[in-house]
């Protein structure tokens, strides 16, 4: 009853100042609109730039690296504080680069609940024989179906179908730049030499385009079997196991765990691309800072109109108090006014923010590296709308808090006697 009555009075006061009320609400609306659009666009952009790296990079990669032994034999035999040794010119020992015991490692990794999926890879150093000249390159033998499922491989094959490489024996998906140099078209045959000297005639079934020139000049893809054939190895020979996780953040920890467990080298995405998170974070911080500044400015708008209203309505406040409305009642009335302005502005801001985001989303935008992107990226994450609404509410609460406290402290005697 009391609450409704206070709301009733607040609404009457709002109506008597329609123009200012609307202007203050539009201020809030504008700031929330910009907040939503800015964050949606920035995060869309972040997601797009991240996907440049994330789409094609495994969260964890298991592999073997050529490197010197961690402990030289002499260290083990002379394990005493009173001796020292000097070994000069340590060299890496020769070892096979494949993952030993691949099948059991694979089934063990797949049994891990945190893992979304795995895709094996075999990288082969090759030479493309183009007429009288040779070009160095790398042919990656992959399970093309898994590569498409986990690493969006199809998006990077603008011509041809990746699955043909699986179906047609001795076929290759050639790097776009390399293909241009060889003047090869889909359906052409090219000759490739493996590291053991084995020469293979391969049919071009598609082009691979990552958008990064140096990459597209060197990298090509084929099926695992064909790569093993080029390498002259059996079907157990795999050099990399690419792992995609359910939660990317767990990668650094799990990489260490796997390295210990399977006695291989393991690198996580964060370590491999340490700059990757920095840019994302800074863009996020900037957009939040701008958005929140806009909100605070809108908050001052509410603060101003409320202060003005309180000066104008001194008489009303005085008589309300004289007839039995308490300080808290008066405060509730003015706080309600602030919240009404803030919340109606925020609500409109959410709607207009969505509308403006949709407009931004329509602007054409083409990136060679991301063939699936055709317009400016916008993230419609409900999180931004919730944050916008919460911040709008908090700002209007604080913008209303101080003026309404002042109103509640007005001494009716001073107003009434002043007349």
């Amino acid at each position: 009853m009391n609450f409704l009555l206070n709301v009733n009075i607040a609404v009457a006061l709002l109506k008597s100042r329609k123009k200012q009320t609307i202007i203050a609400a539009v201020g809030v609306m504008f700031s929330i609109t910009m907040f939503i659009t800015l964050l949606g666009f920035m995060n869309g952009l972040n997601a797009m730039l991240d996907s440049l790296i994330l789409n094609r990079t495994p969260h964890i990669r298991l592999y073997n690296e050529l490197k010197p032994a961690g402990k030289q034999p002499i260290e083990i035999s002379l394990n005493s504080n009173h001796t020292m040794h000097v070994i000069q010119s340590v060299k890496p020992s020769s070892k096979s680069l494949n993952i030993r015991n691949y099948q059991s490692v694979l089934s063990s990794v797949l049994a891990d609940e945190r893992v979304l999926g795995t895709s094996p890879k075999l990288s082969v150093q090759v030479i493309y024989n183009v007429g009288p000249t040779d070009m160095a390159g790398v042919v990656n033998g992959v399970d093309l179906q898994k590569e498409m499922d986990l690493f969006f491989f199809k998006d990077y094959v603008p011509e041809g179908n990746p699955i043909w490489a699986e179906q047609i024996p001795n076929s290759i998906i050639l790097g776009k730049v390399a293909a241009e140099k060889m003047m090869a078209k889909v359906g052409d045959m090219i000759t490739v030499s493996g590291p053991t000297g084995e020469q293979l005639s391969m049919k071009v079934v598609g082009f691979f385009q990552s958008g990064i020139q140096d990459f597209d000049k060197v990298q090509s893809y084929t099926s695992l079997e064909t790569a093993q054939k080029l390498m002259g190895k059996n079907s157990q020979y795999i050099t990399d196991l690419q792992i995609k996780l359910k939660d990317l953040q767990a990668a650094p920890q799990m990489a260490k765990e796997y390295a210990m467990k399977y006695d291989v080298d393991a690198i996580d995405l964060q370590t491999a691309n340490s700059q990757f998170e920095t840019g994302t974070k800074i863009r996020s911080i900037i957009s939040y800072a701008v958005g929140i500044t806009l909100l605070i400015v809108a908050g001052f708008g509410i603060y101003n109109i409320l202060n003005m209203m309180i000066y104008e309505k001194m008489d009303t406040i005085a008589i309300l108090k004289a007839t039995g409305f308490s300080g808290p009642d008066v405060r509730m009335i003015f706080l309600f006014i602030a919240m009404f302005i803030g919340l109606s502005g925020a609500l409109l801001g959410l709607v207009f923010g969505f509308a403006l985001s949709s407009l931004v989303d329509l602007v054409p935008f083409n990136v060679p590296a991301l063939p699936t992107v055709t317009s400016l990226p916008v993230d419609y994450n409900p999180k931004f709308y919730i944050i916008g609404a919460i911040f709008g509410t908090i700002t209007s609460y604080f913008a209303g808090y101080f003026p309404s406290r002042k109103a509640s402290q007005i001494d009716p005697v001073q107003i009434i006697r002043g007349k």
Partner: protein, 224 residues
Amino acid sequence: MSIVLETRNIDKSFYQPEKTKILKGVNMQIDKGSFVSVVGKSGCGKSTLLYILSTMDTDYEGGLYLENDLLTGKTGIELAAVRNEKIGFVFQFHYLLNEFSALKNVMLPALKQGKLSHKEVEQKAYEVLKSLDMGDFAMQNAAKLSGGQKQRVAIARALINDPLIIMGDEPTGNLDKKNSQMVFEIFKDLAQVKKQTILVVTHDPEFAQASDRIIEMADGQIVI
């Protein structure tokens, strides 16, 4: 006769611009059903006393009793409730809320009290307005009424909660002769017919003469 309002040794000083003692040990009792006028020269402290009696000014020394209930020292919220239920005010200026109709202005204190339903409050407010010949103007916006009409609405607002006492601070001070006369008649009628306790601060000797009792003040003390 029972005592409605009583003060015991009320002192009050102003500190701006320098310390001046404005009330010096005021003792008074207002009987139930009496019509009391407080008169005195400007600056004698009569308005100051009224605002202390009204509970709006709490910065004083001494004791204030309403129906033997000590009001001195109560919290702002408690005093607001006391004003709402037991004290009606009529000021020199009408202080109506321009955003509302005359009827709604009268209803506000009763709605705040919350004892009656909205419908009952509306009914009662209309009755009170009708008794002051303002029935026809009930739905008019307060801003559109004339000065005399506004003051009648303000009196209706003071009456709506059946207060123990009505206090007036120069209720005719802002009105022309004709309207002063009318307000004066209303107060007289309330006192004589309805036995309403009334305490009015006034400059108007005619007004004072009509009351049951005149309290004259000088230099912060009650003379008579």
